[in-house]
């Protein structure tokens, strides 16, 4: 609709230009330059208003020193004020592909946005929905040409067409993610085995053999965080196994809410394993609430009780180093899982197995089979597949000089 109106306006303007061609006049005092071809004036698209745009054809015959001058007025008879002047070779439409496209024709046309001009009483900004009269001139040495006056008015636009790629990609990703979530509600979706979970079982087995307890350590974030929810899901699995193997389990948390949720989870797991009697709520407790006192208290448990396995899950901050360091010196098997990328290096170098970033969520989805987690994960996988395809294809096409995908993926 809007585009149609624009092209109609442009067409009208061209007509005016053609009509005025025959009565082209030379400016006073100089010899004649040809009139500037295909001049058009219209509202600048994709903006909040307050700006109009002039476009005209590029002339390759004019000297480099030539300059274009645009004048603007609020009435046909003037007074006209200089709005802008640009060099003869500047402001090609190809410099602004988001507005004028990537076609070759953009090489052969100029553009100029006018948002303000220097009036008699200082700088005046263009107003919306007001008709402005603009005139383009070309000056070269002491000769010049003056095109007839055009009119245009600025207005606020309702859609930013330069964001088209953004909205299309957003809609596609939304469709995929929401689609997979609704699919996951109807049937179970496949995700691959997560290596870390096997390592976890192995560690629990060894703890049983050694007859020592297993220590589960929560990260610092509260129950509303995905990483904490994932940690609780994994704790459910750990508790189930320790109940089955009859191994002792200790759980430390820095937050009372995380602790009580963990208690419920462990209790439920012991119940499922048919060992409700073996559950002791005192084994799930808050070790400390401040970062370093939590770490120090947990270190104390590591050193005193010498658990056979330390399982650290959730979002960790700088205390990760203290935990993992003390933990590894006690000789326990250590398994960590965190989406705190800054702390991952410390876990990788001090733990026997580390679930990195999204692997933690995937493990949580794998264990809980919750549709919203599984569906999201699958939807994100689809998004990754699109990105991988775009990268590989786009780079290949760009190499053979077809920058089609590059243009699509350029943000404006």
């Amino acid at each position: 609709m809007l585009n149609k109106a624009l092209s109609w306006l442009a067409g009208l303007v061209c007509l005016v230009v053609v009509a005025s061609d025959c009565r082209g006049q030379a400016a006073a005092g100089g010899s004649v330059l040809p009139l500037i071809a295909d001049v058009a004036a219209f509202d600048t698209p994709n903006d909040a208003g307050g700006s109009i745009t002039l476009t005209w054809a590029r002339s390759r015959s004019i000297p480099e020193s030539a300059i274009y001058k645009a004048y603007i007025a609020e009435a046909n008879e003037g007074p006209y004020y200089l709005a802008s002047e640009i060099a003869g070779g500047a402001n090609l439409q190809s410099e602004e592909p988001e507005t004028f496209g990537y076609g070759d024709e953009a090489q052969d046309a100029h553009f100029l946005h006018i948002a303000e001009y220097a009036g008699r009483e200082g700088v005046i900004s263009l107003q919306n929905d007001k008709t402005y009269y603009v005139r383009l001139e070309l000056h070269s040495g002491n000769i010049s040409t003056r095109n007839p006056v055009l009119t245009a008015s600025a207005e606020g636009n309702y859609f930013n067409w330069t964001k088209l790629n953004n909205i299309v990609l957003g809609a596609l990703l939304s469709f995929l993610i929401l689609g997979f979530i609704s699919l996951a509600r109807r049937r179970d979706l496949y995700i691959r085995r997560i290596g870390g979970l096997e390592a976890l079982d192995e560690a629990l087995g060894r703890a049983t053999e050694m007859g020592k307890p297993v220590l589960f350590i929560h990260g610092l974030r509260d129950m509303s965080q995905i990483s904490t929810i994932a940690a609780v899901n994994i704790l459910g699995r750990v508790a189930r196994r320790t109940a089955e193997y009859d191994a002792a389990l200790r759980v430390v948390a820095p937050d009372p809410v995380v602790m009580s949720v963990s208690q419920e989870t462990v209790q439920a797991s012991y119940f499922e394993a048919g060992r409700p009697d073996a559950f002791n709520p005192d084994h799930v407790f808050v070790a400390g609430t401040e970062q370093f006192s939590y770490a120090a208290a947990t270190e104390g448990i590591m050193v005193r009780e010498r658990p056979a396995a330390h399982i650290m899950m959730g979002y960790f901050y700088a205390e990760s180093l203290l935990l993992a360091e003390t933990g590894s010196t006690t000789g326990a098997i250590q398994i960590a899982g965190t989406d705190a990328f800054t702390q991952l290096p410390f876990f990788v170098t001090t733990c026997d197995y580390t679930l990195m970033g999204e692997e933690l969520y995937a493990a949580s989805a794998y264990l809980s089979r919750e549709p919203k987690l599984l569906g999201s994960l699958k939807g994100q996988d689809a998004g990754k597949a699109i990105i991988i395809a775009a990268i590989v294809l786009g780079a290949l096409l760009a190499t053979v000089d077809i920058p089609f995908l590059t243009q699509i993926f350029t943000p404006h």
Partner: protein, 222 residues
């Protein structure tokens, strides 16, 4: 009642979520004014959310003092520090709390004094303690247990030497290698992670907007 306490908040989230997406694509002044107004609202609500954090911290320590939990004396210390600073905050150089904040340096103003000599001193010391533990961990636990961990450690050593003046003393290749590691393979991995995290953020946002994720609302309705 259930509609009011459960369904309506989800509808509110949906409306504002869709509005938040929509105004991004509309350059018209009307939409931009809405964005300006909403940004202001977010800012103000954010300021109140700090009070929530304040309450929850003070309440936590108050409960510990009241129940005489082991180490409750340390919780009293939180109140001591808080009370002392609050005196200066409220006093505000004699102007009281219903006036703009008073100007002054640490030498003139108890508020700045406490900030500079207690808060800054303690805060930065806390994290510098980690320097010691890193050294001890470097000595005792950062092990190349797997080929991957070995690669990690080699990269770490190159970066650690290459980014400080001593690297160039050892060889000109050290800073150059660190530079390449950071700008090429590190960049690639970080970009891969960023793309993954972005898709995750979009998925989480969608779940919130469409009411699939409600845990943030609190109140244990799920």
């Amino acid at each position: 009642m259930i509609f009011l306490s459960r369904t309506l908040p989800v509808i509110v989230a949906l409306c504002f979520g869709v509005l938040g997406i929509g105004i991004y694509y509309v350059p018209h002044a009307a939409a931009q004014n809405i964005e300006r107004e909403l940004a202001l609202w977010l800012r103000i609500v954010f300021a109140f959310s700090y009070l929530l954090g304040l309450y929850s911290l003070l309440n936590l320590h108050w409960q510990r003092i009241r129940q005489r939990v082991e180490g409750w004396g340390y919780s009293a210390m939180v109140y001591a520090g808080f009370g002392l600073m609050m005196l200066f905050v409220i006093y505000n150089d004699g102007q009281g709390p219903f006036a703009p904040q008073a100007e002054g340096t640490a030498a003139e103003n108890g508020y700045q004094w406490l900030f500079e000599y207690v808060q800054v001193a303690c805060s930065s010391t806390m994290f510098s303690i980690l320097a010691f533990f890193i050294a001890s961990a470097a000595y005792r636990t950062f092990r190349a247990r797997t080929p991957e961990a070995a690669l990690l450690l080699v990269a770490a050593i190159v970066v650690m030497l290459g980014r400080v003046p001593i690297g160039a003393y050892i060889s000109d290749y050290v800073p150059a290698a660190a530079d390449w590691l950071l700008n090429v393979p590190n960049l690639a991995a970080k970009r891969g992670i960023l793309l993954g995290v972005s898709l995750g953020a979009i998925a989480t946002s969608l779940r919130i907007i469409f009411g699939i994720e409600r845990s943030y609302l609190g109140g244990g309705d799920e």
